[in-house]
Amino acid sequence: MGYTLAEKVLARVSGRPGVRAGDEVMAKPDFVVVYDFPGYTDVIFRQMKQDFGIEKIAEPERYAIFIDHMVPVATPAEELLHIQTREWCRDNDVALYERRGIGHQVSAELGYATPGGFVVHFDGHISQLGAFGTLAIGLRRNILEAFVRERVSLKVPETTRINLTGKLRPGVMARDVFHHIVRVLGPSACRFQVMEVGGPALEGISIEGRQVICGLAMFTGAITAVINPDELTLAYSMPRARAAIEPVYSDADATYAAVHTIDLTDLEPIIVIPPNPANTRNLTDHTGLEVQSGYLGSCASGRLEDLRIAAQILKGRQVASGFSLHVIPTSQEIMAQAAAEGLITTLVQAGAFTSSPSCDYCFGRIATMSAGQRAVSTGTLNVAGRMGSPDSEIYLCNAAVVAASAIEGRIADPRKYL
Protein backbone atom coordinates (compact mmCIF):
# COMPACT_ATOMS: atom_id res chain seq x y z
CA MET A 1 0.00 0.00 0.00
CA GLY A 2 1.36 3.41 -0.93
CA TYR A 3 1.86 6.53 1.12
CA THR A 4 0.35 9.99 1.02
CA LEU A 5 2.50 13.08 0.50
CA ALA A 6 1.99 13.96 4.18
CA GLU A 7 3.12 10.50 5.31
CA LYS A 8 6.23 10.72 3.14
CA VAL A 9 7.20 14.15 4.45
CA LEU A 10 6.67 13.14 8.07
CA ALA A 11 8.61 9.89 7.61
CA ARG A 12 11.63 11.87 6.39
CA VAL A 13 11.53 14.51 9.11
CA SER A 14 11.01 11.97 11.88
CA GLY A 15 13.85 9.80 10.62
CA ARG A 16 11.74 6.73 9.97
CA PRO A 17 11.55 4.54 6.87
CA GLY A 18 7.80 4.94 6.71
CA VAL A 19 4.97 6.31 8.84
CA ARG A 20 1.22 5.82 8.61
CA ALA A 21 -1.70 8.00 9.58
CA GLY A 22 -2.24 7.63 13.32
CA ASP A 23 1.44 7.11 14.18
CA GLU A 24 2.81 9.49 16.78
CA VAL A 25 6.13 10.97 15.70
CA MET A 26 8.71 13.52 16.74
CA ALA A 27 9.19 15.59 13.60
CA LYS A 28 11.97 18.08 12.91
CA PRO A 29 10.63 21.06 10.96
CA ASP A 30 12.74 22.13 8.01
CA PHE A 31 11.61 25.67 8.74
CA VAL A 32 9.89 27.44 11.61
CA VAL A 33 8.27 30.64 10.36
CA VAL A 34 6.23 33.08 12.43
CA TYR A 35 5.23 36.73 12.47
CA ASP A 36 5.67 38.88 15.51
CA PHE A 37 2.46 39.30 17.43
CA PRO A 38 1.69 40.11 21.07
CA GLY A 39 0.98 36.97 23.08
CA TYR A 40 3.01 34.85 20.67
CA THR A 41 6.54 35.94 19.82
CA ASP A 42 7.04 38.18 22.85
CA VAL A 43 5.89 35.35 25.12
CA ILE A 44 8.01 32.77 23.29
CA PHE A 45 11.15 34.92 23.55
CA ARG A 46 10.55 35.38 27.28
CA GLN A 47 9.70 31.73 27.95
CA MET A 48 12.77 30.51 26.08
CA LYS A 49 14.99 32.38 28.53
CA GLN A 50 12.98 32.22 31.74
CA ASP A 51 11.48 28.75 31.57
CA PHE A 52 14.01 26.90 29.44
CA GLY A 53 17.26 28.81 29.98
CA ILE A 54 17.88 29.15 26.25
CA GLU A 55 20.06 32.17 25.55
CA LYS A 56 20.55 31.54 21.84
CA ILE A 57 18.55 29.43 19.46
CA ALA A 58 20.17 26.38 17.86
CA GLU A 59 20.24 26.12 14.05
CA PRO A 60 19.05 29.70 13.46
CA GLU A 61 18.93 29.08 9.70
CA ARG A 62 15.81 26.98 10.28
CA TYR A 63 13.91 30.02 11.59
CA ALA A 64 12.38 33.05 9.90
CA ILE A 65 10.38 35.89 11.39
CA PHE A 66 8.15 38.28 9.52
CA ILE A 67 6.97 41.72 10.52
CA ASP A 68 3.72 41.97 8.61
CA HIS A 69 1.16 42.74 11.33
CA MET A 70 1.04 46.23 12.84
CA VAL A 71 2.61 47.64 9.67
CA PRO A 72 2.87 50.54 9.90
CA VAL A 73 2.60 50.85 13.66
CA ALA A 74 0.04 53.15 15.26
CA THR A 75 1.20 53.15 18.88
CA PRO A 76 4.54 53.20 20.73
CA ALA A 77 3.70 49.81 22.25
CA GLU A 78 3.39 48.27 18.80
CA GLU A 79 6.74 49.69 17.76
CA LEU A 80 8.27 48.36 20.98
CA LEU A 81 7.13 44.86 20.04
CA HIS A 82 8.86 45.22 16.66
CA ILE A 83 11.99 46.61 18.33
CA GLN A 84 12.15 43.56 20.60
CA THR A 85 11.66 41.28 17.60
CA ARG A 86 14.49 43.01 15.71
CA GLU A 87 16.77 42.65 18.73
CA TRP A 88 15.90 39.01 19.23
CA CYS A 89 16.54 38.20 15.58
CA ARG A 90 19.85 40.06 15.66
CA ASP A 91 20.97 38.34 18.86
CA ASN A 92 19.93 34.94 17.58
CA ASP A 93 21.12 35.32 13.97
CA VAL A 94 17.58 34.59 12.80
CA ALA A 95 16.36 35.98 9.46
CA LEU A 96 13.91 38.86 9.82
CA TYR A 97 11.75 40.00 6.92
CA GLU A 98 10.19 43.30 7.70
CA ARG A 99 7.56 45.02 5.55
CA ARG A 100 8.25 42.69 2.63
CA GLY A 101 4.62 41.59 2.61
CA ILE A 102 2.39 39.05 4.26
CA GLY A 103 4.67 36.30 5.54
CA HIS A 104 2.62 33.43 4.17
CA GLN A 105 3.21 34.83 0.67
CA VAL A 106 6.73 36.13 1.20
CA SER A 107 7.86 32.78 2.60
CA ALA A 108 6.93 31.22 -0.74
CA GLU A 109 8.76 33.96 -2.65
CA LEU A 110 11.86 33.45 -0.50
CA GLY A 111 12.05 29.69 -0.90
CA TYR A 112 10.72 28.43 2.42
CA ALA A 113 7.99 26.59 0.50
CA THR A 114 10.19 23.73 -0.58
CA PRO A 115 8.32 20.82 -2.19
CA GLY A 116 8.48 17.94 0.27
CA GLY A 117 9.45 20.25 3.11
CA PHE A 118 7.92 20.46 6.59
CA VAL A 119 7.16 23.92 7.95
CA VAL A 120 5.47 24.99 11.19
CA HIS A 121 3.97 28.32 12.28
CA PHE A 122 1.46 29.26 14.95
CA ASP A 123 -0.97 30.57 12.32
CA GLY A 124 -2.97 27.96 10.41
CA HIS A 125 -3.05 29.97 7.17
CA ILE A 126 0.54 28.82 6.63
CA SER A 127 -1.22 25.84 5.03
CA GLN A 128 -0.97 27.79 1.78
CA LEU A 129 2.62 26.60 1.34
CA GLY A 130 0.89 23.33 0.49
CA ALA A 131 0.35 24.78 -2.98
CA PHE A 132 4.00 23.87 -3.57
CA GLY A 133 3.84 20.42 -2.00
CA THR A 134 5.13 21.65 1.37
CA LEU A 135 3.50 20.24 4.49
CA ALA A 136 2.91 23.39 6.55
CA ILE A 137 1.02 23.24 9.83
CA GLY A 138 -0.18 25.93 12.24
CA LEU A 139 0.41 24.79 15.83
CA ARG A 140 -1.07 27.76 17.72
CA ARG A 141 0.77 28.15 21.05
CA ASN A 142 2.38 24.74 20.65
CA ILE A 143 4.78 26.53 18.32
CA LEU A 144 6.79 27.07 21.50
CA GLU A 145 7.91 23.44 21.17
CA ALA A 146 9.64 24.30 17.88
CA PHE A 147 11.59 27.07 19.66
CA VAL A 148 12.73 25.10 22.67
CA ARG A 149 13.62 21.77 21.13
CA GLU A 150 14.59 20.33 17.81
CA ARG A 151 11.41 18.37 17.15
CA VAL A 152 7.67 18.77 17.57
CA SER A 153 5.31 16.00 18.60
CA LEU A 154 2.74 15.22 15.97
CA LYS A 155 0.19 12.55 15.16
CA VAL A 156 0.52 11.67 11.47
CA PRO A 157 -2.74 12.95 9.95
CA GLU A 158 -5.04 11.12 7.61
CA THR A 159 -5.59 12.70 4.20
CA THR A 160 -8.82 13.43 2.36
CA ARG A 161 -8.37 13.71 -1.38
CA ILE A 162 -10.45 16.16 -3.39
CA ASN A 163 -10.35 15.80 -7.16
CA LEU A 164 -11.43 18.92 -8.99
CA THR A 165 -12.77 18.54 -12.53
CA GLY A 166 -14.06 20.96 -15.16
CA LYS A 167 -13.00 24.47 -16.06
CA LEU A 168 -13.78 27.72 -14.28
CA ARG A 169 -16.07 30.14 -16.08
CA PRO A 170 -15.15 33.82 -16.44
CA GLY A 171 -15.58 35.74 -13.19
CA VAL A 172 -15.17 32.57 -11.12
CA MET A 173 -11.90 32.36 -9.19
CA ALA A 174 -9.96 30.03 -6.90
CA ARG A 175 -11.56 31.75 -3.95
CA ASP A 176 -14.95 30.52 -5.15
CA VAL A 177 -13.55 27.02 -5.56
CA PHE A 178 -12.48 26.86 -1.93
CA HIS A 179 -15.79 28.05 -0.53
CA HIS A 180 -17.60 25.67 -2.88
CA ILE A 181 -15.56 22.82 -1.38
CA VAL A 182 -16.80 23.86 2.07
CA ARG A 183 -20.36 24.08 0.76
CA VAL A 184 -20.23 20.59 -0.78
CA LEU A 185 -18.26 18.76 1.91
CA GLY A 186 -19.11 20.76 5.02
CA PRO A 187 -16.99 22.55 7.63
CA SER A 188 -15.78 19.38 9.32
CA ALA A 189 -15.15 17.18 6.26
CA CYS A 190 -11.38 17.15 6.76
CA ARG A 191 -11.27 17.47 10.55
CA PHE A 192 -7.71 16.85 11.86
CA GLN A 193 -6.75 15.73 8.35
CA VAL A 194 -4.74 16.98 5.40
CA MET A 195 -6.88 18.29 2.56
CA GLU A 196 -5.14 17.09 -0.59
CA VAL A 197 -6.38 18.83 -3.72
CA GLY A 198 -5.82 17.42 -7.19
CA GLY A 199 -7.54 16.61 -10.42
CA PRO A 200 -7.57 17.98 -13.98
CA ALA A 201 -9.16 21.31 -13.06
CA LEU A 202 -5.90 22.33 -11.36
CA GLU A 203 -4.35 22.83 -14.78
CA GLY A 204 -6.56 25.89 -15.11
CA ILE A 205 -5.84 27.19 -11.62
CA SER A 206 -2.73 29.35 -11.21
CA ILE A 207 -0.11 29.05 -8.48
CA GLU A 208 -1.75 32.05 -6.84
CA GLY A 209 -5.13 30.37 -6.93
CA ARG A 210 -3.70 27.22 -5.41
CA GLN A 211 -2.19 29.26 -2.57
CA VAL A 212 -5.66 30.65 -1.89
CA ILE A 213 -7.31 27.22 -1.85
CA CYS A 214 -4.65 25.69 0.41
CA GLY A 215 -4.47 28.74 2.67
CA LEU A 216 -8.09 28.51 3.75
CA ALA A 217 -8.00 24.76 4.46
CA MET A 218 -8.78 25.24 8.16
CA PHE A 219 -12.38 26.03 7.32
CA THR A 220 -12.88 22.42 6.20
CA GLY A 221 -11.52 21.35 9.60
CA ALA A 222 -8.19 20.40 8.00
CA ILE A 223 -4.89 20.99 9.78
CA THR A 224 -3.31 21.77 6.43
CA ALA A 225 -3.63 21.27 2.69
CA VAL A 226 -1.32 20.04 -0.04
CA ILE A 227 -1.21 19.83 -3.81
CA ASN A 228 1.22 17.40 -5.39
CA PRO A 229 3.93 19.38 -7.18
CA ASP A 230 3.61 19.74 -10.95
CA GLU A 231 5.72 21.46 -13.62
CA LEU A 232 4.16 24.82 -12.82
CA THR A 233 4.89 24.80 -9.09
CA LEU A 234 8.28 23.08 -9.41
CA ALA A 235 9.42 25.76 -11.85
CA TYR A 236 8.53 28.39 -9.24
CA SER A 237 9.70 26.71 -6.06
CA MET A 238 12.80 24.69 -6.93
CA PRO A 239 15.07 27.54 -8.06
CA ARG A 240 14.17 29.43 -4.85
CA ALA A 241 14.37 26.47 -2.48
CA ARG A 242 16.41 27.21 0.64
CA ALA A 243 16.86 23.55 1.51
CA ALA A 244 17.90 20.59 -0.62
CA ILE A 245 14.81 18.44 -0.26
CA GLU A 246 13.56 15.91 -2.76
CA PRO A 247 9.97 16.63 -3.83
CA VAL A 248 7.54 13.88 -2.86
CA TYR A 249 4.17 12.88 -4.25
CA SER A 250 1.25 10.85 -2.98
CA ASP A 251 1.36 7.31 -4.36
CA ALA A 252 -1.44 6.22 -6.69
CA ASP A 253 -2.35 3.52 -4.15
CA ALA A 254 -2.08 5.75 -1.07
CA THR A 255 -4.69 5.27 1.62
CA TYR A 256 -7.12 8.17 1.92
CA ALA A 257 -9.73 8.76 4.61
CA ALA A 258 -12.07 9.77 1.80
CA VAL A 259 -11.91 10.68 -1.88
CA HIS A 260 -14.29 13.26 -3.33
CA THR A 261 -14.74 14.56 -6.85
CA ILE A 262 -16.11 18.06 -7.29
CA ASP A 263 -16.95 19.37 -10.74
CA LEU A 264 -16.43 23.09 -11.26
CA THR A 265 -18.05 23.43 -14.68
CA ASP A 266 -21.25 25.05 -13.42
CA LEU A 267 -19.72 26.90 -10.47
CA GLU A 268 -20.93 30.48 -10.13
CA PRO A 269 -19.24 33.23 -8.10
CA ILE A 270 -20.06 32.71 -4.45
CA ILE A 271 -20.49 34.90 -1.40
CA VAL A 272 -19.91 33.78 2.17
CA ILE A 273 -22.39 35.52 4.40
CA PRO A 274 -21.70 36.47 8.02
CA PRO A 275 -21.02 35.39 10.67
CA ASN A 276 -19.40 32.09 9.72
CA PRO A 277 -16.85 31.02 7.10
CA ALA A 278 -19.01 28.02 6.24
CA ASN A 279 -22.00 30.09 5.05
CA THR A 280 -21.36 29.68 1.32
CA ARG A 281 -24.13 31.06 -0.93
CA ASN A 282 -24.47 31.89 -4.59
CA LEU A 283 -23.50 35.50 -5.19
CA THR A 284 -26.66 36.11 -7.21
CA ASP A 285 -28.81 35.46 -4.13
CA HIS A 286 -27.26 38.48 -2.40
CA THR A 287 -26.56 41.02 -5.15
CA GLY A 288 -28.03 44.45 -4.53
CA LEU A 289 -27.29 44.50 -0.80
CA GLU A 290 -25.81 47.86 0.16
CA VAL A 291 -22.15 47.80 1.27
CA GLN A 292 -19.95 50.62 2.52
CA SER A 293 -16.49 49.17 2.19
CA GLY A 294 -14.45 46.69 0.22
CA TYR A 295 -11.17 44.98 0.98
CA LEU A 296 -9.05 43.34 -1.69
CA GLY A 297 -6.00 41.83 -0.06
CA SER A 298 -4.89 39.37 2.67
CA CYS A 299 -3.00 36.10 2.38
CA ALA A 300 -6.08 34.70 0.63
CA SER A 301 -6.10 37.25 -2.23
CA GLY A 302 -4.28 40.46 -3.19
CA ARG A 303 -2.06 38.67 -5.72
CA LEU A 304 -1.51 39.59 -9.35
CA GLU A 305 -4.51 37.76 -10.80
CA ASP A 306 -6.70 39.47 -8.20
CA LEU A 307 -5.25 42.90 -8.94
CA ARG A 308 -5.48 42.33 -12.69
CA ILE A 309 -9.15 41.40 -12.65
CA ALA A 310 -9.95 44.28 -10.30
CA ALA A 311 -8.12 46.70 -12.61
CA GLN A 312 -9.92 45.26 -15.62
CA ILE A 313 -13.27 45.86 -13.94
CA LEU A 314 -12.42 49.31 -12.58
CA LYS A 315 -10.63 50.66 -15.65
CA GLY A 316 -12.36 53.85 -16.74
CA ARG A 317 -14.94 53.53 -13.97
CA GLN A 318 -15.26 55.08 -10.52
CA VAL A 319 -15.74 53.72 -7.04
CA ALA A 320 -19.21 54.71 -5.77
CA SER A 321 -19.42 57.87 -3.72
CA GLY A 322 -19.06 57.13 0.00
CA PHE A 323 -17.65 53.64 -0.60
CA SER A 324 -14.18 52.86 0.84
CA LEU A 325 -12.22 50.49 -1.39
CA HIS A 326 -8.92 49.21 0.00
CA VAL A 327 -6.68 47.36 -2.44
CA ILE A 328 -3.60 46.04 -0.68
CA PRO A 329 -1.11 43.94 -2.66
CA THR A 330 0.02 40.92 -0.65
CA SER A 331 3.77 41.46 -1.04
CA GLN A 332 6.22 44.05 -2.27
CA GLU A 333 7.16 41.75 -5.13
CA ILE A 334 3.50 41.64 -6.20
CA MET A 335 3.10 45.38 -5.67
CA ALA A 336 6.13 46.19 -7.81
CA GLN A 337 4.89 43.94 -10.60
CA ALA A 338 1.40 45.45 -10.37
CA ALA A 339 2.94 48.91 -10.65
CA ALA A 340 4.99 47.85 -13.66
CA GLU A 341 1.86 46.57 -15.35
CA GLY A 342 0.03 49.85 -14.68
CA LEU A 343 -2.53 48.16 -12.45
CA ILE A 344 -1.91 50.47 -9.50
CA THR A 345 -2.47 53.51 -11.71
CA THR A 346 -5.77 52.13 -12.96
CA LEU A 347 -6.95 51.25 -9.47
CA VAL A 348 -5.98 54.61 -7.98
CA GLN A 349 -7.58 56.52 -10.85
CA ALA A 350 -10.79 54.62 -10.16
CA GLY A 351 -10.72 55.84 -6.56
CA ALA A 352 -9.19 52.87 -4.74
CA PHE A 353 -7.06 53.42 -1.66
CA THR A 354 -3.89 51.35 -1.91
CA SER A 355 -0.98 50.86 0.46
CA SER A 356 2.10 48.76 0.88
CA PRO A 357 1.50 45.21 2.08
CA SER A 358 0.11 44.72 5.59
CA CYS A 359 -1.98 42.13 7.41
CA ASP A 360 -3.79 44.83 9.31
CA TYR A 361 -6.80 45.35 7.06
CA CYS A 362 -7.84 41.72 7.48
CA PHE A 363 -8.42 41.93 11.22
CA GLY A 364 -9.76 45.46 11.45
CA ARG A 365 -6.71 47.07 13.01
CA ILE A 366 -6.98 49.68 10.29
CA ALA A 367 -9.86 50.54 7.94
CA THR A 368 -11.97 49.63 10.96
CA MET A 369 -15.72 49.33 10.44
CA SER A 370 -18.38 50.91 12.65
CA ALA A 371 -21.58 49.31 13.91
CA GLY A 372 -24.08 48.79 11.11
CA GLN A 373 -21.51 48.90 8.33
CA ARG A 374 -21.06 46.11 5.85
CA ALA A 375 -18.03 45.05 3.79
CA VAL A 376 -17.27 42.84 0.85
CA SER A 377 -13.90 41.29 1.53
CA THR A 378 -11.30 38.89 0.27
CA GLY A 379 -9.93 38.63 3.82
CA THR A 380 -9.74 35.26 5.47
CA LEU A 381 -12.64 35.41 7.86
CA ASN A 382 -16.12 36.85 8.38
CA VAL A 383 -16.80 36.26 12.07
CA ALA A 384 -18.41 39.15 13.96
CA GLY A 385 -15.94 41.84 14.96
CA ARG A 386 -13.19 40.63 12.67
CA MET A 387 -12.89 43.93 10.80
CA GLY A 388 -14.10 46.30 13.50
CA SER A 389 -17.34 46.60 15.42
CA PRO A 390 -18.97 43.29 16.38
CA ASP A 391 -22.09 44.84 14.88
CA SER A 392 -20.55 45.24 11.43
CA GLU A 393 -20.82 42.53 8.79
CA ILE A 394 -18.36 40.89 6.40
CA TYR A 395 -19.31 39.19 3.15
CA LEU A 396 -16.40 37.13 1.79
CA CYS A 397 -16.00 36.88 -1.98
CA ASN A 398 -13.48 36.92 -4.81
CA ALA A 399 -11.50 39.97 -5.93
CA ALA A 400 -13.72 40.61 -8.96
CA VAL A 401 -16.81 40.81 -6.75
CA VAL A 402 -15.10 43.37 -4.50
CA ALA A 403 -14.23 45.51 -7.53
CA ALA A 404 -17.72 45.30 -9.05
CA SER A 405 -19.36 46.04 -5.69
CA ALA A 406 -17.11 49.08 -5.25
CA ILE A 407 -18.54 50.56 -8.45
CA GLU A 408 -22.14 50.04 -7.41
CA GLY A 409 -21.93 50.47 -3.63
CA ARG A 410 -23.91 47.24 -3.52
CA ILE A 411 -22.95 43.61 -3.75
CA ALA A 412 -22.55 43.22 -7.50
CA ASP A 413 -21.96 40.51 -10.06
CA PRO A 414 -18.61 41.13 -11.77
CA ARG A 415 -19.47 39.21 -14.91
CA LYS A 416 -21.27 42.13 -16.52
CA TYR A 417 -18.01 44.13 -16.35
CA LEU A 418 -15.78 41.45 -17.87
Binding site: R149, S153, R191, G221
Partner: protein, 173 residues
Protein backbone atom coordinates in the same frame (compact mmCIF):
# COMPACT_ATOMS: atom_id res chain seq x y z
CA UNK B 1 1.69 11.05 36.91
CA UNK B 2 -1.99 10.53 36.35
CA UNK B 3 -4.67 12.55 34.71
CA UNK B 4 -6.82 14.69 36.96
CA UNK B 5 -10.06 12.93 37.81
CA UNK B 6 -13.10 14.61 36.29
CA UNK B 7 -16.32 14.30 38.17
CA UNK B 8 -19.06 16.87 38.05
CA UNK B 9 -22.37 17.96 36.67
CA UNK B 10 -23.20 18.88 33.11
CA UNK B 11 -23.47 22.62 33.56
CA UNK B 12 -24.49 23.34 29.97
CA UNK B 13 -25.01 21.56 26.63
CA UNK B 14 -24.10 23.53 23.49
CA UNK B 15 -26.23 21.84 20.85
CA UNK B 16 -25.02 23.95 17.91
CA UNK B 17 -22.72 22.14 15.43
CA UNK B 18 -19.49 23.99 14.51
CA UNK B 19 -19.94 26.12 17.63
CA UNK B 20 -17.92 29.34 17.72
CA UNK B 21 -16.65 29.52 21.31
CA UNK B 22 -16.35 33.32 21.17
CA UNK B 23 -20.14 33.30 21.73
CA UNK B 24 -19.53 32.15 25.30
CA UNK B 25 -18.39 35.61 26.36
CA UNK B 26 -19.81 37.49 23.37
CA UNK B 27 -17.68 38.72 20.48
CA UNK B 28 -17.71 42.31 21.71
CA UNK B 29 -16.08 41.20 24.98
CA UNK B 30 -13.35 39.05 23.46
CA UNK B 31 -10.58 41.58 24.12
CA UNK B 32 -11.33 41.91 27.85
CA UNK B 33 -8.39 40.55 29.83
CA UNK B 34 -9.65 41.07 33.39
CA UNK B 35 -10.72 37.60 34.46
CA UNK B 36 -13.30 38.84 36.97
CA UNK B 37 -15.03 40.94 34.35
CA UNK B 38 -14.82 38.19 31.71
CA UNK B 39 -16.29 35.59 34.06
CA UNK B 40 -19.26 37.79 34.83
CA UNK B 41 -19.99 38.07 31.12
CA UNK B 42 -19.55 34.37 30.37
CA UNK B 43 -22.72 32.49 29.38
CA UNK B 44 -24.88 35.60 29.82
CA UNK B 45 -26.72 35.02 26.55
CA UNK B 46 -27.37 31.36 27.45
CA UNK B 47 -28.18 31.44 31.16
CA UNK B 48 -27.81 34.68 33.15
CA UNK B 49 -27.57 32.63 36.36
CA UNK B 50 -24.81 30.37 35.06
CA UNK B 51 -22.07 31.83 37.26
CA UNK B 52 -24.13 31.17 40.39
CA UNK B 53 -25.31 27.73 39.32
CA UNK B 54 -21.99 26.26 38.19
CA UNK B 55 -19.79 24.48 40.75
CA UNK B 56 -16.11 23.65 40.70
CA UNK B 57 -15.59 20.42 38.75
CA UNK B 58 -18.63 20.78 36.49
CA UNK B 59 -18.23 20.18 32.77
CA UNK B 60 -19.77 21.64 29.65
CA UNK B 61 -20.88 19.50 26.72
CA UNK B 62 -20.63 20.37 23.03
CA UNK B 63 -21.80 19.08 19.66
CA UNK B 64 -19.73 18.25 16.56
CA UNK B 65 -16.69 20.26 15.44
CA UNK B 66 -16.82 22.28 18.66
CA UNK B 67 -14.60 25.37 18.46
CA UNK B 68 -14.89 25.96 14.70
CA UNK B 69 -14.04 29.36 13.23
CA UNK B 70 -11.35 31.46 14.82
CA UNK B 71 -11.30 30.44 18.48
CA UNK B 72 -9.83 32.85 21.02
CA UNK B 73 -8.60 31.89 24.47
CA UNK B 74 -10.72 34.17 26.75
CA UNK B 75 -13.99 32.14 26.62
CA UNK B 76 -12.44 28.99 28.11
CA UNK B 77 -10.35 31.07 30.47
CA UNK B 78 -13.61 32.46 31.81
CA UNK B 79 -15.24 29.02 32.08
CA UNK B 80 -12.22 27.60 33.90
CA UNK B 81 -12.33 30.52 36.31
CA UNK B 82 -15.96 29.69 37.06
CA UNK B 83 -14.97 26.13 37.89
CA UNK B 84 -15.57 24.27 34.64
CA UNK B 85 -13.10 21.39 34.62
CA UNK B 86 -13.50 19.96 31.11
CA UNK B 87 -15.32 20.10 27.80
CA UNK B 88 -16.87 16.88 26.53
CA UNK B 89 -18.01 17.14 22.90
CA UNK B 90 -19.10 14.97 20.00
CA UNK B 91 -15.92 16.15 18.24
CA UNK B 92 -13.61 19.16 18.25
CA UNK B 93 -12.18 21.57 15.72
CA UNK B 94 -8.39 21.06 15.57
CA UNK B 95 -7.41 24.67 16.25
CA UNK B 96 -9.51 24.78 19.38
CA UNK B 97 -8.24 21.36 20.42
CA UNK B 98 -4.59 22.31 20.12
CA UNK B 99 -5.06 25.67 21.82
CA UNK B 100 -6.96 24.41 24.83
CA UNK B 101 -5.00 21.20 25.40
CA UNK B 102 -1.89 23.38 25.50
CA UNK B 103 -3.61 25.40 28.26
CA UNK B 104 -4.11 22.16 30.17
CA UNK B 105 -7.89 22.09 29.67
CA UNK B 106 -9.15 18.51 29.42
CA UNK B 107 -11.10 18.00 26.19
CA UNK B 108 -12.89 14.72 25.72
CA UNK B 109 -14.03 13.72 22.24
CA UNK B 110 -16.99 11.51 22.92
CA UNK B 111 -19.34 10.74 20.00
CA UNK B 112 -22.92 10.51 21.22
CA UNK B 113 -22.44 12.69 24.30
CA UNK B 114 -25.12 15.28 23.47
CA UNK B 115 -27.90 12.69 23.67
CA UNK B 116 -26.21 10.67 26.43
CA UNK B 117 -26.57 13.39 29.07
CA UNK B 118 -29.08 15.96 30.22
CA UNK B 119 -28.24 19.24 31.87
CA UNK B 120 -27.21 18.76 35.51
CA UNK B 121 -26.60 15.02 35.14
CA UNK B 122 -23.59 13.93 37.20
CA UNK B 123 -20.87 12.51 35.00
CA UNK B 124 -17.46 11.06 35.55
CA UNK B 125 -14.57 10.53 33.13
CA UNK B 126 -12.81 7.20 33.58
CA UNK B 127 -9.47 7.93 31.92
CA UNK B 128 -8.15 4.39 32.20
CA UNK B 129 -11.24 2.65 30.81
CA UNK B 130 -11.80 5.39 28.21
CA UNK B 131 -15.41 5.83 29.30
CA UNK B 132 -17.68 8.65 30.28
CA UNK B 133 -20.00 7.42 33.00
CA UNK B 134 -23.37 9.08 33.52
CA UNK B 135 -23.89 8.68 37.25
CA UNK B 136 -27.46 9.89 36.90
CA UNK B 137 -28.46 7.13 34.45
CA UNK B 138 -25.65 4.72 35.32
CA UNK B 139 -24.75 4.26 31.65
CA UNK B 140 -21.31 4.53 30.01
CA UNK B 141 -20.12 5.85 26.67
CA UNK B 142 -16.61 5.37 25.22
CA UNK B 143 -14.49 8.39 24.27
CA UNK B 144 -11.61 8.70 21.82
CA UNK B 145 -8.19 8.04 23.30
CA UNK B 146 -5.69 10.87 23.61
CA UNK B 147 -2.37 10.90 21.79
CA UNK B 148 0.53 10.41 24.18
CA UNK B 149 1.63 14.03 23.72
CA UNK B 150 -1.86 15.36 24.50
CA UNK B 151 -2.10 13.05 27.50
CA UNK B 152 1.27 14.24 28.79
CA UNK B 153 0.21 17.85 28.33
CA UNK B 154 -2.93 17.32 30.41
CA UNK B 155 -1.03 15.36 33.06
CA UNK B 156 1.56 18.07 33.51
CA UNK B 157 -0.97 20.90 33.35
CA UNK B 158 -0.15 22.45 29.99
CA UNK B 159 2.40 23.26 27.36
CA UNK B 160 5.25 24.74 29.41
CA UNK B 161 5.38 22.08 32.15
CA UNK B 162 4.94 19.41 29.47
CA UNK B 163 7.91 20.69 27.50
CA UNK B 164 10.03 21.06 30.64
CA UNK B 165 9.35 17.44 31.57
CA UNK B 166 9.89 16.19 28.01
CA UNK B 167 13.23 18.01 27.72
CA UNK B 168 14.36 16.77 31.15
CA UNK B 169 13.43 13.19 30.26
CA UNK B 170 15.24 13.47 26.94
CA UNK B 171 18.37 14.74 28.70
CA UNK B 172 18.44 11.78 31.11
CA UNK B 173 17.47 9.16 28.49
Amino acid sequence: MALMPIKGRVAWIFTEENFDVDQIVGVKNIKITDIGELSKLAMQSYDPDFACAVKAGDVVVGAGNFGYGHPHYPPLRALRHLGVSAVVAESFSPGFWRGEISMGTPLIACPGITTFVHRWDEIEVDWEAGLVRNRSSNATLPFESLSSADRDMLETGGLVPYLKRAIAEHATA
